[in-house]
Amino acid sequence: MVKDQDYVAIFNSIHRVMEAERLLKGKHLKILLIPAPRALASDCGLAIRYAEEIRGEVEGALAEAGLMPHDVYKKNGDQYQKIEEES
């Protein structure tokens, strides 16, 4: 479900991730709410998957709404690379 170069934003609260999904879908952004990949979360976490092309819009909208994810990863081949916050 997560393709190479896709981004995955992990949320630890179901209410926040569902709110984030509603927000992003309301902006007609092509995202998908998925179970957090097992490699990234051992609990019943949820994640939002999006492509590089809409990364700015997705993360901008989440930041504006105060719905920043717990962690963001980018898939590189078979590995997930954690995206560190830009200071």
Binding site: M1, I14, M18, L32, L33, I34, P35, R38, L46
Partner: protein
């Protein structure tokens, strides 16, 4: 040697056809198919089940020769004969808020992709068919399951009831005869 021509078929029909043919084939099976997704999906499916695959470019596509024995069948005990069937009778998983139930059902279908052993068949009835129609967020996962040999079938009457017959987006249409037969002949049925 049994042969099968799946050229021109849309995904996941090549994999489903090969799966059916392998169930009845003795010895080798030769499959003529298009290059690209059908070739990759059939090869991955057959190798995943323990068969050996040799391929050769032919006019208008590729010929795959599938030989050997399915590992799962060879190891299976007699009581494990027959298909494992998932009966999905709702677009929601569990009782409770609709939004949560829909999310859980979609997550369940996506999570199947991470499992080593997949069901042989998924039957969608009642509001379950809303998952296989256009607009459903489970389509991508259902297509991927289809490409791994899972037969995805939706109840035709149910699609008709919800006016989704023209917008079926994953798998095929089935009828109550096939549904009843599948359930009664299955080695295991999991109902959601």
């Amino acid at each position: 040697m049994k042969s099968l021509d799946v050229r021109g078929m849309a995904c996941p029909l090549p994999v489903v056809s090969v799966k059916r043919a392998l169930e009845s084939a003795q010895g080798e099976l030769q499959v003529l198919l298009d290059d690209g997704a059908p070739r990759e999906n059939v090869r991955r499916f057959a190798e995943g089940r323990g068969f050996q695959v040799q391929e050769e470019a032919v006019e208008g596509g590729f010929a795959l020769t599938i030989t050997g024995a399915e590992k799962r069948q060879a190891a299976a005990s007699p009581e494990r004969a027959g298909a494992s069937v998932l009966l999905i009778g709702s677009d929601r998983l569990g009782d409770g808020p609709e939004e949560l139930g829909r999310l859980l059902m979609k997550n369940f279908i996506i999570t199947l992709l991470d499992l080593a052993e997949l069901p042989d068949r998924m039957l969608f009835v009642n509001t379950g068919v809303l998952l296989t129609a256009a607009g459903s967020e489970a389509i991508e996962a259902l297509e991927a399951l289809g490409n791994r040999g899972v037969e995805v079938l939706s109840c035709g009457v149910c699609l008709d009831f919800f006016k989704k017959k023209e917008t079926l987006a994953a798998g095929g249409v089935t009828n109550m005869f096939t549904i009843a037969e599948s359930l009664l002949q299955a080695r295991s049925v999991v109902r959601l």
